[in-house]
Symmetry: C2
Subunit: 281 residues, 2 copies
């Protein structure tokens, strides 16, 4: 079992009155650790802060989160050259009932996991995805942030067992493409890049943010917009993003097939140059 | 802190790799304990079984759930004449990621809580509720069951601090009345009783089920139907149901006021006779 750290000490269990257990009352981040350092740290902190504001959970001090992370890296014994950190921020302990105690303090849990690199072939040839039957319910209050309420993703991820399927794409209840169970999705139509709007549901990934910021700083426009499933499937190119693997081309979804196109190739090179080394594959 | 029991032993913490912590991957029941016995046990078991089926979590044996409950009652030291039991069934421990381990076993946690009786005045005069700004997202896959993904209720419950407000009513994103944060709601128009349909969202409470079953066995029809907020507010009578308090009249929501009407009164008497003693107040 992976070792978790709380308040600097290794723990193997969470206080039974923690609101994460009872209500999923909290948030998490999964952060790429590369050469011993967290990647895109500021973007993770921004999303976490945004999530804490939305849920009215006290945001832990960044310095303390970072210190916890480095202590966990140091003490975990995991090779931090290429690893994954998971930080959970819960609404803390409290009495029974949905109402939070006024004095409630958030609780930070940190763990380091071994991580397998995706194959070179995946980046070169693209991956296979499926369409999930489980849809995402529209809930603007929770859209975009990475809460501990993840049953929709659990149901979706458990729809397939085939290890060759890289991820499953999810639509909202109106049939709009939103995101993968553990990734965001971008499509290219006539050289023009777009990605689903996440105002109603979906998780706004940190790598999605990094790709949007990078393209914008290069003077390229990317539309965040509503996207019907069929429109997405008719795209020239499709790719996924995620904090661990960076940018990953999609070569197949159901009957639909794509080759890894020039826009995706160029973007992968650009993102590799921005520090996401995997994309250079 | 309330004592929890797992596998017959008191515990104060939950294994850190339990999926309840990471994804809210589980279900719960809050059961009225009266004179040392669980009330409406079969209805709780039915809902839990239904929830387990929907989430593909292994349903624990009823006999074992009941044995756990009685052991917890015995060992908790709580006066079981009038108490509350909470049973949590999680998807158990597993590795990181939304995908469940094939060998995954559910985990049952049980606790007994002290419980305060609602005041006699509440039953006689009715309670005050508010309308919550937080809405319920439509998600048929999770509708009706009592999962550990409860952030919508957490946000809604934390909208008010006034201790005189008994509960908050929640609508779906289309403005249909669905339920309270911790109760179900019924309205009476021209002697006719109806309650919101819970096919898209909301928790189908065990006391709601008991009221529906009781009325049906008496040959009375109750409609489960979509209900716009304004239609509900124009009702002649409004009442709430919940496994602990039974049936509770509502006397005020915002500007709208009601007296405790004859249909609610008759129902409270009927439900009291069916074994929910509180309603005789």
């Amino acid at each position: 079992m992976t070792t978790w750290f709380y308040d600097g000490e290794p723990i193997d269990a969470l206080s039974i009155d923690d609101r994460a257990i009872h209500y999923g009352d909290g948030l998490f981040e999964t952060i790429a650790i590369r050469s011993g350092e967290p990647r895109l740290w500021q973007l993770h902190i921004e999303r976490l802060r945004h999530g804490c504001e939305r849920l009215a959970i006290a945001m832990p001090a960044e310095k303390s989160l970072r210190a916890d992370l480095h202590r966990a890296i140091h003490e975990s014994g995991i090779d931090a050259d290429y690893a994954l950190a998971k930080i959970i921020v819960t609404a803390g302990s409290g009495p029974r009932g949905y109402k939070r105690a006024k004095s409630g303090q958030s609780r930070v849990l940190t763990a380091i996991y071994d991580l397998q690199r995706p194959s070179q072939a995946s980046y070169r040839e693209g991956v296979v995805v499926v369409k999930c039957a489980t849809s995402l319910g529209g809930q603007a209050a929770l859209a975009g942030i990475k809460t501990l309420n993840r049953l929709e993703q659990v149901l979706a991820r458990n729809e397939w067992q085939d290890p060759d399927v890289f991820d499953g794409l999810m639509c909202d209840t109106a049939g709009r493409l939103i995101c993968g169970t553990m990734s965001n999705v971008f499509v290219v139509h006539d050289q023009s890049i777009s990605t689903p709007d996440l105002g109603r549901c979906g998780v706004a990934g940190v790598m999605r943010r990094h790709v949007l910021d990078t393209l914008q700083s290069d003077g390229m426009s990317v539309r965040e917009e509503d996207m019907q499933w069929q429109d997405a499937m008719s795209a020239d190119e499709v790719f996924l993003t995620n904090s661990q693997f960076g940018v990953m081309p999609v070569r197949q979804c159901g009957e639909q097939q794509w080759s890894v196109g020039p826009v995706t190739r160029a973007l992968m090179k650009r993102i590799a140059n921005s520090g996401i080394a995997e994309c250079a594959s």
